[in-house]
Symmetry: C2
Subunit: 226 residues, 2 copies
DNA sequence: TCAAAAGTGTTTGCAATACACCCATGC
DNA sequence: GCATGGGTGTATTGCAAACACTTTTGA
């Protein structure tokens, strides 16, 4: 317990991934008390000399091994007894990960790491279930008006993957022709001269998200909405 | 500086009001250092034994004298040097106030209190300008899908007041007939047998927001949107 | 040649927009 | 009676929803 840390303040992250048409969350099996052996959100203490966003990025790096993940603050969680034995307020973040962006490994103070389907989460310690609920809620609100969903897809993807992503996040089904038209009309996807491989049916064209075009359209008042 | 407080953690609130068809923010003139004499957001330290939402409600009460204001957390602000002389992370809230809900008075550590037009704010200390920018942004996002705007209006109001509120928040103009129809179609306003008084033209009918109806419609999947 | 998903076309109805207009009231 | 805002009517347009349909590919 060094004076290098702000003791009553921690950071916790909800890391979202998307695989098999399912929204997932990355949890770590705690190898320390309290909560030994439980699956929980990756987290850590904030240092005196770092911005809270830096703290979150550092802790994500310590757990995943990679930097540059899409990341955004959710807010502070401050129930008096949310953490046993001491008053700890935590600042929660959520992060988005592309398939295969890093290899799973146990993070600090953890013995294992695993992706869980958002609809089949294990028992979790502290207020982590509430934090996850807030993260899901935020993700649903953000993904509608910001093109952050692409941070959950590979760089090259077929339209169907995008549709399945939105279907998983909103938990509803879209009509394929109407969804395609809506997306294509935005002119934000660059069609590639590549197709899906290894599928047992007609292979779909792949697309890439055009961030530059999105930025320039946004300057002109364009509003992304799905 | 008693051990009763979590030293490195404070709460700051952006209090919004609506008067003269203008969105306003309530600021307090600091009578202590740092930032002596500057107009700033009302704030204070979090106690060890209170939920952060309670801390925010308590500090709002200490400043305004009233409880029960609509209030919601914005998030944590944690630049390393945001507060001079010590590492202080602040958790920001925004609150909505009805016209005349309380009498202005200087709060703790303040010599004066005053409403400022959001488009004509004074120089402010620390990161308060950023916090206000975030609050405005959040308000704009929230008011579109949640009926929280009514917390800025008197209990009884003419439709025009609601329109002016949305015009002030979004900073755009609406077409009056279309706005009326959109609102009335939602069936969320109860028409009263009362009219405006003291106006130099045809007086408008007053309405009241029907929260019960909103709640029951929401359960059935209704989505508020303006 | 069949299954499965890619991808296109077309109809329908609602809802946003734009704008013309009449009504009530105080000065 | 005129200025001011309250309040209503209506044509136009665009888009979302629904669904039938054709095309391509691997097994």
């Amino acid at each position: 317990m060094s004076g290098n840390f702000i003791e009553p303040l921690s950071v916790d992250s909800v890391i979202f991934g998307f695989e098999d048409a399912t929204l997932k969350i990355l949890l770590y099996k705690r190898s320390i008390e309290p909560g030994y052996g439980m699956w929980s959100l990756p987290g850590g203490a904030i240092r005196y000399d770092e911005h809270i966003d830096q703290a979150s990025a550092r802790i994500l790096k310590e757990h995943t091994g990679v930097t540059g993940l899409y990341m955004s603050q959710l807010g502070a969680f401050g129930e008096v007894n949310r953490f046993p034995g001491a008053r700890v307020i935590t600042i929660a973040y959520y992060a988005l990960v592309k398939p295969g962006q890093f290899e799973l490994r146990p993070g600090p103070d953890a013995s294992d790491a695993r992706w869980f389907d958002v609809n089949a989460l294990p028992a979790m310690p502290f207020d982590h279930p509430q934090i996850i609920a807030a993260a899901l809620n935020r993700l649903q609100n953000q993904v509608k008006y910001k093109p952050i969903g692409f941070n959950l897809l590979p760089d090259k993807f077929p339209l169907r993957a995008l549709q399945e992503l939105y279907e998983a996040v909103y938990n509803i089904k879209f009509d394929k022709p109407n969804f395609r038209r809506k997306i294509m009309k935005m002119n934000l996807l660059i069609p590639l001269n590549e197709k899906q491989k290894g599928v047992a049916h007609r292979s779909a064209r792949l697309f890439r998200f055009d961030k530059q075009r999105y930025d320039s359209l946004t300057e002109k008042g364009f509003i992304f909405e799905i």
